[in-house]
């Protein structure tokens, strides 16, 4: 793992809502080129942590420290939601163009970058299609292309494959890993799937439920590229067992107030 200074570090971060404490004393750092998963049961505050990093909500305690001392510019962060979150009235091109349009780039000026982003997720042929004409997996690919079109330094993904069927999920996971390697991105990936997190990540942060805290950090020291043979390897099964045990302990520790 690179020992460089983290891109972003959350120090003793807390987040309280009206009647729940989502995060309490949450310590977490992301380093350059990492693929790190936040793993925990629903309601453990992992999505909240992602929204805090994205600046979509404000922490009620602690500090979020960026490498350069200030929050990155618009477009330096990419966000992929659990749903594809596409504008139904805009074509695939229009949806992927959006982040650049908001930054002031016309269709013509953005065309090449949009085309590159679409080709990256394998949808080069579908620029003129509308979201309703696409399958769930294709919509999610558009969503990923939109997040990548600004060439962000950090990609935040909030259970992006949770609503997809298993076969589509495997294919998207494979393609995401290829993209991550090819583009040299840093990814924070929120999931409640042990198997998904082990396949994708080089580090897994297991969280306790309510309030969310870091229970364990488990490095997944398996080489990339990882493909279908990794999915069926005893090594993979071994990592899954370790992570599952950690998750079970985290749940048990969280059950007692």
């Amino acid at each position: 793992m690179p020992a460089s200074e983290p891109i972003v570090a959350l120090r003793r971060v807390g987040k309280a809502f009206a009647n729940t404490v989502a995060l309490d004393g949450f310590d977490f750092a992301v380093r350059e080129r990492e693929f790190v998963s936040l793993l925990g049961p629903s309601g453990c505050g992992k999505s909240t942590a992602l929204r805090l990093i994205a600046g979509l909500s404000a922490a009620s305690g602690g500090a979020i420290e960026w490498r350069d001392g200030k929050k990155p510019a618009h477009g330096a962060l990419g966000f992929v939601f659990q749903e594809p979150t596409l504008m139904p009235w805009a074509s695939v091109f229009g949806n992927v163009h959006l982040p650049l349009k908001l930054a002031g780039l016309t269709r013509a000026a953005a065309a090449e970058r949009v085309a590159t982003a679409l080709a990256g997720v394998g949808l080069a042929e579908f620029a003129r299609a509308y979201p309703r004409e696409l399958s769930g997996g294709m919509k999610m690919r558009v969503s990923i292309a939109r997040a990548l079109v600004t060439a962000p330094q950090l990609l935040l993904m909030d259970e992006p494959f949770a609503a997809l069927d298993e076969i589509t999920r495997f294919r998207l996971a494979n393609d995401l890993l290829d993209l991550w390697q090819a583009l040299g991105k840093t990814v924070v990936f929120v999931t409640h799937s042990v198997f998904e997190s082990v396949f994708l990540s080089n580090r897994i942060v297991v969280m306790t439920p309510r309030p969310g805290r870091v229970f364990a950090e488990i490095p997944i020291d398996a080489p990339y590229p990882r493909d279908e043979s990794f999915r069926t390897s005893p090594e993979y099964a071994g990592f899954c067992r370790r992570v599952s045990q950690a998750l079970a302990s985290a749940m048990a520790s969280g059950a007692a107030p």
Binding site: R51, A54, G55, L56, H74, G75, L77, F79, F81, E83, T85, M87, P88, W89, A90, L98, P99, K101, L102, A103, Y130, P131, R132, E133, T150
Partner: protein
Amino acid sequence: MTGEPPRTNEPHEVGRRDTVLRIALPVAVLALAVIAWELAVRLTNTPAYQVPVPGLVFTTLLSDWPILSASLLVTLITTFEALALAVLGGVALAILFSQSRLVEYSLYPYAVILQVTPVIAIAPVLLIYLPQPAAVLACAWIVAFFPMLANTTLGLNSVDRNLVDLFTLYGASRVQVLVHLRLPAALPHMLAGLRIAGGLSLIGAVVAEIAAGSAGAGSGLAYRIAESGYRLMIPRMFAALLLLSLAGIAIFFALSLVSHLALRRWHESALQAER
């Protein structure tokens, strides 16, 4: 779509038969009603100044066409002017509401009051202070305005929360959020409001013309109905009524077509034909 097996013809044919029934059945009912009407009038020897037979209504429509068509034009122009002003005013005010809570809290109750007060009761008051064409226009506008305001307001607020977050993430300005997110998201609601407002502005124009009728200066279709009634020209009264009804139907279908064309690429409401 690619890769799908070709569909069998069966559902398609069922769909076509359904379409035929949807058109044929109402037409058959109309024909039966017209025949029953004709028979009832003839068998009871009812004079034409009480109930004219359908054939007489139709010939009157043709013979009085110069007068009736001029009146139809007046009513239609009033209706469309009122509708245009209602769309402009309703959408503009809804945008203002979406940008400022204070403006919304201050003005929304009065928009509701304007809506719930029967326009037939407002018309005589307006007729005192405004020249008749302006008063008729104002009445038509009052009834058409509210559905545009209410539907646009609803639409501007029915935006996917995640899309709002996405716009925030990319540092979108208020104007960008309005133009690229809230207005397109509101479009289906606005078009539904437009279809309601189209019918209502015709009703508003008619109500105001009837209210003004005895004052005498009007020339719209509703005024013709009132005038024909006073002068016992019952066939012309029926002909004008028929024309008014046809105008309402035409407005509804025209606005439905506008709605369909605007939404067909993306909105669920326009997709039934494909299933």
